[in-house]
Amino acid sequence: MEEPFVKTEIRKDENIVYKRTNLLVDRPLSYCPGCGHGVVHRMLMETLEEMDAQQNTIGVGPVGCSVLAYDFMNIDMLGAAHGRAPALATAIKRLWPNKFVFTYQGDGDLAAIGTAETIHACNRGENFTIIFINNGIYGMTGGQMAPTTLPGMRSSTSPYGRDVATMGNPLKITELIATLPGVHYVTRQAVHTPNHVRKTKKALRKAFEIQKENKGITFIEVVSNCNSGWKMTPVQSNKWMEENMFPFYPLGDIKVDGKLIEKKETAEKV
């Protein structure tokens, strides 16, 4: 009989330096290999665990690739109709003002069908956190054009590339939201390198700390890849994201302490 590849004796408590947070359910993720959703899930749940917030958190999931987020996040959650998560979160936070409330939404959900719910929740200055995953495409339905699809970018409903003359321009909804007085903190991050992952986690912690103080909306965009929808390998998709998505959606803080950051400071050198 062959020796097992992993020697069980190295799995000792004193050897463990990093493990799955208890706020993630122990089951396989439904995301494609190489997708950023799993990393964001983990950073979000680690943040809530570090804040000892499991019992004090109510999450709202979207429709899209992360429709099953509630199966992986070991907290109480509601699944909203497509685009409506900010409406659910508004009512939940108003009626449970001492709970942490967040929405987790993709770009089709937040920036197309849910534009009204998103903008009005932000403009009212509701005290919850929005986590916005922007991969420039409708992933779950099979790679259709999203509100955030770049000019010239191919998708299954823009097979010759997005023609802005007939299909409209990509919507920089994060910059738009940052201008609203009800919004306290807006940042755009990524999770394709360890450095970016650490920054995203810091932003999440900051957002939930601000939520405790009832200062208004905290909004974290994570620019992510969709290797399946973009028809690339994970490595190719991350390179493509750096070369094409980041120049259009520059990373960094956009609004801090209720004040817009000057544009030249916003763009992180790519």
């Binding site: 199966d71 070991n74 959650m77 659910l88 009005h120």
Partner: protein
């Protein structure tokens, strides 16, 4: 006995919500029901009971605010009128699917489309047969007075939580706008969060260490699982049919004919009944109060006693389908309706009885 007041139907809904211990109201202005939110905003229920009132950006948002709040076990209400209720159908379907309790008031106006702001009963099918996508029902209560606008809010919340279902109060522009005396029930304190968690163990209220996390959703991608969801819902609807039918009869004991009408039409039929009886026509009135569950058995029994029924509705003939399904084909059943915001007069209802049922 409770407090006696002269109020509009819409105001009675608002006051009843505060007194019922409602946790939140989410709505959007539309004629002829805007007094509900106006009354609530003026009344400052947050100071009276801690109830939250929020003007949303659309009916789509209001119903989804209800979905969110109801998913955490809170007792919540919205109101609107026909075009706004059409926008809410998405949320109602999701709430039925996720089995969430809430009360939705439809102060119906004439349609289709933007229609008119005058009273109508043309949303019967939408309310009773589902309205949104998928196989679902809501309990539908049809008030015929300002008193019932008040009482049905409390009944509605009781039924909504008993069955974990959205409950619709199907009113109309006349009942919403007219003023009548109303006896208000004594205020019931809002539930504390601890009481809410104890009474609604299914609700997403934050996961303690000692229970599994709660997921509120209407999604089950496995068809076998989704069929089980549907079978569970259908079983629940059968239980409602067995236990929750409400109706009222007037002068049906000696009746040879019967008016069948709900809401405002039933009020008009009361007068028509008096006019007809003064002329020697023995007519009674059967008024369904729950439109779902429909009083099938009771109407069937009445069908064995009378020679004919006139179904009077402010629409082109909607409830008549359920009356015919209940009674069968043994007697003559005809419809009389005015629509687009016209309210029938008692005289034309009597004339319709004489020409369509007695002489027809």
């Amino acid at each position: 006995m409770g407090e006696l007041r002269l109020m509009k139907g819409n105001e009675a809904v608002a006051e009843a919500a505060i007194r019922a211990g409602c946790d939140g109201y989410f709505g959007y202005p539309i004629t002829p029901q805007s007094e509900v939110m106006e009354y609530l905003m003026a009344e400052k229920p947050y100071e009276r009971t801690g109830m939250v009132v929020l003007q949303a950006e659309s009916e789509t948002a209001s119903i989804n605010m209800l979905y969110g709040a109801a998913g955490t076990g809170k007792m919540v209400l919205t109101s609107s009128s026909s075009p706004g209720i059409s926008l809410m159908q998405e949320g109602l379907s999701y709430m039925a699917g996720a089995e969430l309790p809430a009360v939705i008031v439809n102060v119906v106006r004439g349609g289709p489309g933007l229609g008119t702001i005058q009273p109508s009963q043309a949303d019967y099918f939408q309310a009773v047969k589902g309205g949104g996508h998928g196989d679902y029902k809501m309990i539908v209560l049809a008030p015929a007075s300002v008193q019932e606008m008040c009482d049905h809010v409390k009944t509605g919340f009781d039924l909504a939580f008993k069955y974990r279902t959205p409950v619709m109060i199907l009113s109309d522009g006349a009942i919403g706008q007219m003023m009548e005396k109303v006896v208000l029930f004594d205020p019931i304190p809002r539930r504390t969060d601890e009481e809410l968690i104890k009474q609604n163990p299914w609700a997403a209220t934050g996961k303690p260490k000692d229970r599994e996390h709660i997921i509120i959703t209407s999604l089950d991608l496995d068809p076998a699982g989704q069929e089980r969801v549907n079978l569970k819902l259908q079983a629940k609807y059968r239980t409602m049919e067995e236990n929750e039918v409400l109706y009222e009869t007037l002068n049906c004991e000696d009746a040879e004919y019967a008016f069948v009408a709900f809401g405002l039409s039933a009020r008009i039929c009361q007068k028509s009944m008096d006019l007809a009886r003064a002329r020697g026509i023995k007519v009674g009135l059967f008024r369904p109060i729950t439109l779902f569950p429909f009083p099938v058995k009771q109407l069937n029994d009445l069908g064995k006693k009378v020679k004919g029924m006139l179904v009077v509705e402010m629409n082109a003939g909607q409830m008549i389908e359920d009356v015919k399904l209940s009674v069968g084909c043994s007697i003559k059943i005809e419809h009389f309706g005015r629509f687009g915001g016209i309210i029938p007069t008692p005289d034309e209802v009597v004339k319709a009885l004489e020409t369509q049922i007695i002489g027809g």
